[in-house]
């Protein structure tokens, strides 16, 4: 890799490069978060987004709105209260038994109606299966712009939302705007934004909105829900210690060295995208922009070069250690400590060294 | 219902494309099978493309073929650890309307060539490997079996353009598998640099190009060669040695390449470059003596699969495409006379090859591979050291009288190789060259 960072500027030739907001959009105000409530549980990404929304709203001098939608008595009131605790000023509450299970049609109808009535200028959703399923159909219904998997959200002087995300290939970032359409929509993956402080006892306004939904007009029926067995879950996204391996390990078999170290540290293990593409590990172990974003206290990357799409998935870690023979690998731009040695030889030594330091008398967990 | 074509061409490299194109243009139905994901995905070359031979197949290729630079300068270097002694030839005459040699990037060139082939009417199946040749009761080849379901297909003649490793021909016993002494393993990297930097470093403008070919201690006594070719925005840098030598010495191709790149004469040329591609390939080195039987009942073999590579002059792709063209022309002659594709009738192909530069050149150099190989330490270690010392001696002005310097040099040569050795080497080299 050459030393100087390439700063390429795309030649913008779009006609609508300037902000010329049509009159009817000027009334759109406030920053909204779609609160992802399913089976009584709010996905934490909603609160991470609430924190972001708070920052954006403060800059714009507007309010933070939370769209809370679900069946009555299925956690909607609790979700509303929590929304205030995490920074919302207003909760737009829609309770309807037809919203009990997530279905694209009912939720799209509800959210677009809320938008059309209350007119937010910015609408944020978590980039989860639900959020992505919903965001695309809402954006198309509203014929507005949607930027997916943003790693950074900011507001320009002209009050436009600047949504930054990695471009294809992962070596560059790009900032995308929806200048002349409202609401400006964006999705953000879980753990990309930090969890904000929860303010117990904070209150706000609740706007109850009644929606007319007819079950007969909704084509999708939820026949049942099969919960995952808890053993299937990997806690990678929320682990405090993560060890990950990349192509530098030269073979899927060597990922067991990563697992061994993770075991000794009481943490989780993961890998870079190319490893998943090569079939060395299942997709849920993928760390990076299109895999899991992690915010551990300690992240050890073994044999990972650190393409942008990986780096944005781990930047939030408190301490990053990179084991990589290439002293110019991009991962060193975000790592705090580095060891320029072959990971395959070093990992076992590191595992033993940690074992001696932190649990010299404890029994090891069974290898995962 | 088994599909039937006039010809099946196995392989979409230089030889295969040349054959398929020529056959299709002459109106034959052609099925081309390529095991790679796309035509060119399995091909690796320096690469230098020889216009004369391509002109005979696609006369106006310059209109749209992706060509990097046309070559105006050639540097031959003999290197030891710290120096190189070179002979350069640079001529403005090479800046002609229809230049004679170009550097190309195979992945792009092959894509273009394959497009031409398909436009000519060839049906190309990629990701399809021919597993075995099919023969009738009389031992004549009647088609191939591929690795796709129900993958049997018949043809009057099969053109084996399957490359140096070609398993189809060896499996069918049509030729022996390549021996380690007759193949070289070469590795290559693409080093990306801004166009202006390449032009400044190599003293070229516009589309002019330079080739550096180097022998010497860089191959650690093994028969081998290193090279740098200038492309528009990158340099192709590579090294190759005989497989048998690698096996004997335990050296690795990329180890040699790293040393080559670190050489004080080479390193400055690559300074600041971004390495973006790394590839390796086998190159036939056996020369004339390794060329197998070129045709049989219902089959012909062309290109690297037939060891048609002139390692001394580093010419391979032109021999490949010429053999493909000539084989296609022979097949057409048989077909248009409504004859059967027997070995006797297809003999037009080897006969035409004998009359062409291909076999004439290979025949001329038939003893060179053996000579270089058995004497590799002399040619690739001893002489480069001697030459380097002689040159340094000559150029270092240190008050030593010239006559003394000259005697020292002559003495060094005599002492190291002996008069007998020197004469023998000279004679052998001259003989092998002629």
């Amino acid at each position: 890799m050459s030393d100087a960072p390439k700063t390429a500027v795309a030649a913008p030739s779009r006609a609508a490069m300037k902000k010329e907001l049509p009159e009817h959009f000027k009334a759109y105000m406030h920053v909204w978060v779609m609160v992802e409530l399913e089976r009584g549980h709010v996905h934490p990404v909603s609160w991470e987004l609430m924190g972001e929304a708070r920052k954006l709203a403060d800059k714009l001098g507007v309010e933070v709105g939370a769209a809370v939608v679900g069946a009555p008595g299925a956690g909607t009131r609790e979700a509303a209260a929590e929304s205030f605790a995490y920074g919302a000023d207003v909760v737009y509450l829609v309770e309807n038994p037809i919203l009990a299970e997530y279905r694209n049609e009912s939720y799209t109808r509800t959210l677009t109606e809320l938008v059309n009535v209350y007119k937010p200028e910015i609408l944020l959703l978590g980039a989860t299966n639900l959020g992505r399923d919903l965001a695309g159909s809402v954006a198309t219904t509203l014929l507005t712009g949607l930027t997916a998997d943003c790693t950074e959200l900011a507001v320009d002087a002209d009050k436009s939302l600047a949504a930054t995300r990695p471009t294809f290939g992962g070596s560059l970032l790009c900032t995308i705007y929806t200048l002349n359409f409202r609401p400006q929509m964006a999705t953000v993956r879980p753990r990309v934004m930090a969890m904000p402080e929860r303010q117990e006892g904070r209150v706000g306004r609740v706007v109850e909105h009644v929606i007319d939904l007819k079950e007969e007009s909704i084509i999708t029926k939820v026949l049942s829900f099969l919960p995952d067995r808890s053993s299937q879950k990997s806690n990678l996204a929320y682990a405090d210690v993560v060890v990950a391996g990349g192509l530098g390990l030269q073979g899927g078999g060597n990922l067991q060295l990563v697992r061994a170290l993770a075991n000794v540290l009481g943490g989780e293990w993961g890998c870079s995208r190319p490893c998943v593409q090569k079939g060395w590990a299942p997709a849920e172990r993928q760390i990076g922009q299109t895999g899991k974003t992690i915010r551990p206290k300690l992240y050890i990357a073994a044999g990972i070069s650190g393409a942008i799409q990986h780096r944005v998935g781990v930047e939030g870690a408190d301490l990053i250690v990179a084991i990589n023979t290439d002293k110019n690998a991009p991962i060193l731009d975000i790592a705090h400590l580095a060891v320029a040695t072959d990971a395959i030889r070093f990992l076992p030594a590191l595992t033993e060294a940690f074992r001696a330091r932190i649990s010299p008398h404890a029994n090891d967990r069974l290898a995962g | 219902m088994v599909e039937r074509f006039d010809c099946i061409v196995v392989g979409a490299g230089m030889a295969g494309n040349a054959a398929a194109y020529t056959l299709a243009r002459k109106g034959l139905s052609v099925l081309q099978l390529e095991r790679g994901e796309y035509a060119g995905s399995k091909n690796v070359q320096g690469a230098i493309m020889y216009a004369d031979m391509l002109e005979k197949i696609i006369p106006d290729f310059r209109d749209d073929a992706p060509l990097e630079r046309h070559l105006i300068e050639q540097r031959f270097w003999m290197m030891n650890e710290h120096s190189h002694t070179g002979m350069h030839y640079r001529s403005d005459a090479f800046n002609e309307a229809r230049p004679n040699r170009y550097t190309i990037i195979r992945s792009q060139f092959d894509k273009w060539f394959s497009r031409k082939v398909r436009e000519a009417g060839v049906l190309l199946l990629t990701e399809t490997t021919a597993l075995e040749l099919l023969f009738d009761a009389y031992g004549a080849c009647v088609g191939v079996r591929t690795d796709r379901e129900d993958g049997v297909v018949h043809a009057d003649v099969v053109v084996l353009a399957e490359g140096v490793n070609g398993l189809l021909g060896t499996r069918a016993g049509l030729r022996p598998p390549p021996q380690p002494e007759t193949v070289a393993l070469a590795v290559k990297e693409m080093h990306f640099l801004p166009q202006e930097t390449i032009e400044a470093r190599f003293n070229i403008r516009g589309d002019e190009g330079v080739v550096i070919e180097a022998v010497g201690t860089i191959s650690k006594g093994m028969t081998g060669m290193g090279f740098i070719y200038t492309n528009r925005e990158c340099l192709s840098v590579g090294m190759g040695c005989l497989v048998s030598d690698f096996a004997k010495t335990g050296e690795t191709p990329y180890g040699l390449l790293e040393k080559f790149k670190a050489h004080p004469s080479i390193k400055p040329l690559l300074e600041g470059s971004e390495v973006k591609e790394y590839s390796a390939h086998l190159i036939p080195e056996g020369g004339f003596k390794a060329v197998p039987q070129l045709c049989g009942d219902g089959w012909v073999v062309v290109g690297d699969a037939a060891q048609l590579n002139n390692a001394v002059h580093r010419e391979g792709s032109n021999l490949a495409m010429t053999s493909g063209r000539i084989a296609a022309e022979a097949i057409f002659q048989v077909k248009s006379r409504k004859e059967k594709m027997t070995k006797a009738n297809l003999k037009r192909y080897p006969d035409a090859m004998d009359a062409s530069f291909v076999m004439k050149d290979l025949r001329k150099l038939k003893d060179m591979p053996a000579l270089l190989h058995t004497n590799s330490r002399n040619f690739f270690l001893t002489y480069p050291e001697l030459v380097s010392r002689a040159m340094e001696n000559y150029l270092r002005v240190d008050g030593t009288p010239k006559r003394e310097k000259e005697s020292a040099t002559i003495k060094a040569f005599r002492k190291t190789r002996g008069i007998g050795g020197l004469v023998t080497d000279a004679v052998r080299l001259a003989r092998a060259w002629r």
Partner: protein
């Protein structure tokens, strides 16, 4: 039954190789491939076709070279391929793309019958937005079912489909009426290897090529740059941090280097030692 599968030709970012000496990733000029997620949808469509009879039409919007992706799709066993290509589509974001593809699907319906299911890939490896599928569904007023892990079955007579969809913490078992739009999860159905006959047919096939006008798209303001509400204003390399990572000195014995690393680690984060002990003892 008629199935329309939307695919996209993308650069193959997976063709990353590791340099054997420096162990660095080689990021070279990459060839194009069919977006891998699309293949799961294509296979699912073909399986349904094999089961119930009918045809699979593959559709893509792209430059003329996208024909390669379509031919590859035919090699896998699709029956028909349509290329929507026009300079007016250049610069389309996902909204403009779904507009054009939806219109092309209407045209396909006119020519070869309305599709029972429109399949799209879960997301592309170059855009990653997962927006085009939902966009098409909305514009064609098709019921939208994404993140489908399994198509349980189709009841032709009832015009219904039963599927399993991945949600947070579990799987929804859903039923829907046909027609609908479906995006399949990776791993749901491995793409088959086309037979020799499929490969030959693909090599011989005439790819139906439509310009915007051929597809009946008259409102060019909804296409390309002008039809895209999002605009990329800046492309940049992330500014490198001022201080690079501190390199731990390599000692002859790996174990010594490891200890040096752990020392530096605990130096930088004194609380880490206790934290790790807690975690290690935790389970």
């Amino acid at each position: 039954m008629h199935f329309v599968v939307c695919i996209k030709q993308v650069p193959d970012s997976a063709q990353i190789r590791v340099h054997p000496v420096t162990n660095t990733i080689m990021r070279q000029g990459v060839p194009t491939i069919i977006n891998p997620y699309d293949l799961f949808s294509l296979e699912s469509a073909m399986r349904l076709r094999d089961q119930h009879g009918g045809e699979v039409t593959v559709l893509t919007m792209g430059p003329p070279s996208a024909e390669d992706a379509l031919r590859k799709a035919l090699t896998f066993g699709a029956d028909r391929a349509v290329l929507l290509t026009d300079r007016f589509f250049a610069g389309s974001d996902t909204l403009a793309t779904s507009f054009a593809l939806a219109q092309a699907i209407r045209k396909i319906s006119e020519a070869w019958g309305a599709p029972d299911i429109v399949f799209a890939g879960k997301q592309t490896i170059d855009g990653d937005t997962a927006q085009v599928g939902p966009g098409i569904a909305r514009r064609l007023d098709l019921n939208q079912l994404t993140y489908i892990s399994k198509i349980v079955g189709v009841d032709l007579a009832a015009g219904a489909i039963k599927l399993e969809r991945r949600a947070e913490g579990g799987t929804q078992v859903l039923s829907s009426a046909l027609p609908c739009l479906v995006t399949m999860l990776e791993g749901s159905a491995e793409i088959r290897r086309g037979s020799f006959a499929d490969a030959l047919r693909a090599a011989r096939a005439e790819i139906v090529t439509w310009s915007a006008a051929d597809a009946g798209i008259t409102d060019l303001l909804k296409c390309g740059l002008r039809g895209s509400p999002t605009v990329v204003k800046r492309v940049f390399a992330p500014s490198p941090r001022a201080e690079k990572a501190a390199q731990i000195e390599i000692k002859p014995r790996s174990r010594d280097t490891a200890d040096a690393l752990i020392d530096a680690l605990f130096d930088a984060k004194p609380a880490m030692a206790a934290e790790l002990e807690r975690l290690a003892a935790g389970v």
